[in-house]
């Protein structure tokens, strides 16, 4: 099936005494495929991208369930730096524009 898909998958349960440990992962996938047939020609192709990331380790004991989230510290750092890299030029550009505007006006013309 062509298109974008997201699903949560659970691993096989690991039995430790009265406890059951289940792993959980989030899977993102994008698939595209196409085939063309004519009288004398045939062509086809496709591509698949898939990304699976761990989300949690679930511990089940006596009817209770405890989730321990798995965080990707490296990914969080990269996302934070990426956001900072986008915000920084915007802030500096706004500051420069404001500074030029302020310096082009006499003190009496400035209204705060």
């Amino acid at each position: 099936m062509n298109g974008f898909r997201r699903e949560i998958q659970h691993g096989p349960p690991l039995q430790l005494g009265d406890r059951e440990i289940v792993t959980e992962a989030e899977v993102w996938s994008l698939q595209a495929k196409q085939m063309a047939l004519t009288d004398h020609n045939a062509a086809g192709g496709g591509a698949l991208l898939m990304w699976a990331r761990p989300t949690a380790v679930i511990e089940r004991r006596a009817g209770t369930e405890r989730r321990t989230s798995v965080t990707d510290v490296n990914l969080q750092l990269e996302i934070a730096l990426l956001i900072a890299a986008i915000v920084l030029p915007l802030v500096l550009t706004i500051f420069t524009t404001w500074s030029h505007y302020r310096s082009s006006k006499s003190p009496d013309e400035l209204v705060f």
Binding site: A25, M35, H40, A47
Partner: protein
């Protein structure tokens, strides 16, 4: 030679690849994200990784206008794929419960930090030049 002869194998091959796509997509990738449990003293350690894979394939066959002639036939195809796994954490299962210890990829963090530092210096210098010009 019939007209369908060169086309049918290609159609079958493409369908085979499509079926492979479906199998790859439906396969339980959670088993590749979480490694085999490793006993470590009184605890059990499970390595955890982030896994990405990509692959693509293309196939084609063409015959000339004269279907009776095999001279004009051509068949071609190609494909490529890549699978990467990056360590994310270690899950430690003890008698008390489950602890997840994140793994920091220092090289990756350093490269990202240096790239950001360069970007920040560029914009700071640009701003100062504009301010004092």
């Amino acid at each position: 030679m019939s007209e369908e002869q060169p086309i049918r194998p290609v159609a079958q091959a493409v369908n085979h690849f499509f079926a492979t796509f479906e199998r790859a997509q439906n396969k339980a990738v959670v088993t590749s994200v979480y490694g085999e449990p490793i006993p470590y003293g009184s605890a059990i350690v499970i390595p955890v990784a982030s896994v990405s894979q990509m692959f693509g394939v293309g196939l084609g066959v063409g015959a000339g206008p004269d279907a009776e002639s095999a001279v004009d036939e051509g068949v071609g195809g190609g494909g490529s794929g890549r699978v990467t796994a990056r360590p994310v954490a270690m899950a430690e299962i003890t008698a008390e419960g489950v602890d997840v210890h994140p793994i920091i990829d220092e090289n990756r963090a350093l490269v990202a930090s240096l790239l950001f530092a360069g970007w920040a210096v560029f914009w700071a210098a640009r701003t100062l030049i504009k301010l004092f010009k």
